[in-house]
């Protein structure tokens, strides 16, 4: 009788674990961090929240040292829709770090954020595909 109870408890525990694993809420609030690069720079883009929120761009040279640029702007576009928004200018926040407090992507769908980096080597551009939940 005792053994049967142990079995039943074990099965229930496994079942509960499976249900919990399936129903565990997926992380949607973590920032999206994307890495890319150009001929001159390594670029990391951090979108804090999907939709409207701050965006941070970290620019380093090919050895990984932070780079100071003249200006960094972000151009949001929905390519499929033929819909472009006004470019967002970032503010330098430290060595190689550029941040815009408010990047609004007002529609769900596939966006492309083109980061334009104006520096001593000319203008480099890196495009980051970002999907905003509908």
């Amino acid at each position: 009788m005792k053994r049967r109870g142990t079995w039943a408890a074990g099965c229930a525990a496994v079942l509960a674990g499976a249900v919990l694993w399936l129903l565990w809420p997926g992380g949607g609030s973590e920032p999206t961090v994307l890495r890319s690069g150009t001929e001159h720079y390594r670029v990391r883009l951090t979108v804090e929240r999907s939709g409207t929120g701050p965006v941070t761009i970290d620019v380093a040279d090919l050895r990984g040292r932070p780079v100071t640029l003249r200006s960094v702007t972000v151009e949001p576009v929905m390519t499929n829709m033929g819909h472009a928004l006004e470019p967002v200018t970032t503010v330098a926040q430290g060595p190689g770090r550029y941040r815009a407090e408010r990047l609004a992507l007002p529609m769900g769908g596939a966006w492309a954020l083109t980061v334009l980096m104006h520096g001593p080597e000319g203008t480099d551009r890196a495009t980051f595909p970002v999907l905003v939940a509908g």
């Binding site: 390594r42 090919l62 499929n80 829709m81 472009a84």
Partner: protein, 492 residues
């Protein structure tokens, strides 16, 4: 101590065979459909017309074989090939950053047409660019290195069948060695459950919706190439993009000199450079140029930057040139972009004789080869078949994947120079004669297979009656043969 006699030998043999069957099946890279295919891209680089072939990549990191086929008239020289990963990734890794050259190779081209190859190395899946540089001009070819991908039901099926195999071994083992009668039943029941899961996964596998194709339907990233089923997908399954505008700039506007034509392709809605052209009919851009007297160029400009394509040619005649480009954007079909302004070229130092007006259907000779052109009674609105017989032997080679190309421009007014008339002609057509591919054959014949023709048949429906200019194009002896003709299309 118990002894088992011959069973002592039998059981380890069974276990070993089952282990080989279950564990020996390497599930990692070997399964699934072929993950890629060869990419053929024509490039008009400097004075050379090159066919660049990127062979399929079977393993990442691994080799990428690049072959470059030259054509008649291309002199000796050197090409430098560079591979640059261009993909955005959410994972942090120790690989060189996107945008940096990770592999380089060199090709020494001989004086005769031949295929030259180099083996480069790719270190990650995702979008890449191959740069082909002849020292003066360079062109970039975007392509995607695929990753071996399995759909979630497939993954479940593989895992479940593996577990079932393991449990089967366990059941056998416990049946042999255990003294308790019920103990083998536990792994046996588990095996049945695992088999049921596996069969369900395998049955669901063909019903799983395919994720959008990175590079062809959606912008490729390292993430959506590596894990297309887990990557977020657009809510809308309409992947098409706005039409393209084309600006044409010429470095020289006097005749007889070598001219660089710069094509700036911009998005019709946002005005931004079009960075998402995909290879269609073996090229990123098919540029057609019609000269004032009716010479035709069919060129393949190379990509030099975002939305920027370049091609060099000698515009020998003064007068008006008409241009059009066929391009395909990611997610959508092919579009024909006609340059609304065309190109006006002033008279240079050495004026060149205008091309004579070609004849209609009938025999002619081009470069010492007899060519017969015939057409069924051409009538507007009805399918007309134009047959071009080049020489007597079946020795044509596929060009851009087709045995023949037929360019059609018209209807053209009689007295106007062809370039000027083509500028406003309502119809610019591009018909194909395809190479027959045997049923079940994997791949397709490439340019080295010279067994097609000598008759090439094109069928095209002319929408309006009038006089049309035709140019049939075939490849023979690694040289492009262009057959100009005039066709009068009658009223229905």
């Amino acid at each position: 101590m118990r002894t088992y006699g011959p069973r002592a030998l039998l059981v380890p043999v069974i276990v070993a065979v089952l282990m080989i069957l279950v564990v020996g099946q390497r599930p990692a890279l070997a399964d699934g459909a072929p993950t890629g295919q060869d990419l053929h891209v024509a490039q008009t680089l400097g004075t050379r017309e090159l066919s660049v072939v990127l062979r399929r990549v079977d393993e990442v990191p691994g080799p990428l074989r690049v072959e470059v086929l030259t054509h008649a008239g291309a002199g000796p020289g050197k090409l430098v090939l560079r591979l640059v990963p261009t993909g955005v990734s959410s994972a942090e890794d120790d690989l060189p950053a996107a945008g940096s050259v990770v592999s380089e190779g060199e090709l020494v081209l001989g004086p005769t047409p031949a295929s030259y190859g180099a083996t480069l190395r790719v270190d990650r899946p995702g979008p890449w660019e191959l740069t082909v540089d002849d020292g003066h001009d360079s062109g970039r070819i975007p392509f995607v290195v695929p990753a071996p991908v399995r759909s979630p039901p497939d993954t479940v099926a593989y895992a479940a069948f593996s577990v079932a195999g393991g449990l089967l071994l366990l059941a056998l083992g416990t049946a042999v060695w255990s003294r308790r009668w019920w103990l083998p039943l536990v792994p046996a029941c588990g095996m049945v459950a695992a088999l049921a899961t596996g069969v369900t996964g395998a049955a669901l596998s063909p019903l799983t919706p395919q994720p959008p194709l990175p590079g062809l339907q959606v912008d490729a990233t390292v993430d959506n190439v590596t894990a297309p089923y887990t990557a977020a997908r657009p809510v809308n399954a309409d992947y098409s993009r706005p039409p393209v505008n084309m600006l044409v700039r010429a470095s020289e506007k006097t005749s007889g000199r070598r001219t660089d034509l710069d094509l700036l392709l911009t998005d019709g809605s946002t005005g931004r450079p079009v960075e998402d052209l995909v290879v269609h009919d073996d090229a990123l851009v098919h540029l057609l140029v019609v000269s004032p007297s009716g010479r035709l160029w069919h060129l393949h400009p190379v990509m030099t930057g975002p939305g920027h394509y370049r091609v060099g040619l000698v515009l020998a005649e003064p007068g008006h040139y008409a241009l059009s480009a066929e391009v395909a954007r990611r997610g959508g079909g092919v579009q024909l972009v006609r340059s609304a302004a065309g190109l006006d070229v002033g008279e240079g130092a050495t004026p060149v004789a205008a091309a004579p007006t070609p004849g209609g259907p009938g025999p002619r000779e081009i470069d010492g080869v007899r060519i017969d052109l015939a057409a069924t009674r051409p009538s507007a609105g009805e399918a007309t078949t134009i047959t071009v017989k080049v020489g007597e032997r079946a020795d044509l080679q596929p060009w851009l994947g087709m045995v023949g190309h037929l360019i059609v421009v018209g209807p053209l007014p009689y007295a106007t120079p062809v370039g000027t008339a083509a500028q406003t002609a309502p119809v610019w057509g591009h018909a194909h004669a395809m190479a027959p591919v045997p049923r079940g054959a994997a791949g397709r014949p490439d340019e080295t297979v010279a067994t097609f023709g000598p008759e090439v048949r094109f069928t095209h429906t002319f929408p309006e009656p009038g006089r049309y200019r035709l140019w049939a194009q075939v490849e023979r002896g690694y040289a492009l043969v262009t057959v100009p003709a005039v066709l009068d299309v009658g009223a229905p």
